[in-house]
Chain length 267, copies 2
Amino acid sequence: MDAVRIFRGNQRVDHVDPADRGLAYGDGLFETMRVHRSEIPWLDAHLQRLQRGAQRLAIALPDEAVLRAEIAAMCASQDAAVLKLIVTRGVGGRGYAPPQHPDPTWMLSLHDAPPPMRQADIIWCKTTFADQPALAGIKHCNRLEQVLARREVVAASADEGLMRDTSGNVISATSGNLFIHDGDGWCTPKIDRSGVAGICRDWLLRHASVRETVLDRDAVQRSYAIFLCNAVRGILPVRRLDAREWPESAHIRALQCQLADAHPGFQ
Amino acid sequence: MDAVRIFRGNQRVDHVDPADRGLAYGDGLFETMRVHRSEIPWLDAHLQRLQRGAQRLAIALPDEAVLRAEIAAMCASQDAAVLKLIVTRGVGGRGYAPPQHPDPTWMLSLHDAPPPMRQADIIWCKTTFADQPALAGIKHCNRLEQVLARREVVAASADEGLMRDTSGNVISATSGNLFIHDGDGWCTPKIDRSGVAGICRDWLLRHASVRETVLDRDAVQRSYAIFLCNAVRGILPVRRLDAREWPESAHIRALQCQLADAHPGFQ
């Protein structure tokens, strides 16, 4: 079993071309997917988000049948793992103008599932998300903001960090979406001007009663319950954010049970 | 002579690792340098900007002596060319957190000098630069905004395009800085919240009388003379922007002569 497979169009290749636009400009998209018993429970949702991103950036995607077959081959006999897919615009000359009809470069890599975490101690990051509707929501490869924010998390020995936009609105964690219970119900920040619209967030919006809204720092600090979520960890309750601590929440537990029923990988 | 050389730390390698953070997140920096008679006239300025970017992103740089020796080897016997340098944070695991002490990945690639252009017909791009002081000024590899803007330029069969920030302030062309003469003197937009602080722009700020200011679309449209500049083309007069045309300008010609005297590559 190969830990990494690289393709150009529908052809497997040995190496990434050094002139790839992914390297030059972060000109690509990615998906990070939880593998459970040789399958990816949310594969269709991941591929739909990839499609939305490819339309937004006008990046060609590989043939879906080839992509699905290679994903299945990589997942076979994997009980619990993480599969990462990167698709770039392909090889391009010097300069920002995309080549006319490049074959996309794509690669699949298998990684260990992260160690289990029951709850998270998190911080407020100083690094912000810029306001950029043209890139909001999709999972593109321009991620320096999250890289810088994650350095703050590591420096603080925290588990995660919350990022705001330049206006102070809370957007998400560095690699997960944010949900708070305000006493009346669940809320999650809108992802129309920055941030990534996560696959687990999408599932929750469709299967639970959640308001998409604008949240400031105070609303988060005084919330009744708070969790992060992504497609690798599922729902991760927050225990502490700066000085505030939250007790275990029956509201969060109910959502976790609902998610585990739908996707046994998150039990 | 190799058209591309790739390194990891101070060691030459054959290929880019598919787990490179440049590919995953655009987690890197680049410089695009004009080669003239086997030398790069502005090499020191390029390496200083690279250093500023590396400090901002906490990316390790290769040993400067090794870097300069390899640059010299690539430029030897090149009469007129473009040398591109990319430095990424190096190989990293899955996830935004940078590895502790990765060796940077870096690569040098030689390209043809662009065909000469006397003046440019340009457009207003709809794609904006996001407001992100943490990344402004440096030449990092998160360039999807310019890629999208450059698609507009290609679609309009124009030579270049001007980009504004989300507040409407004019920032730069997709791959060059903007200077306008307002009748009183030269002005160029501040690059403290978005955009790239170009090497030719820097040279002009030091060798001509230029005000760094905030410019809106009207100020540009009614300007007395207008040019773009970068380290590959030098000073490029604008002939047309949307419906407005500018005659040849003695003010621009004077700056071009001053630049050609300092750097014969721009004659």
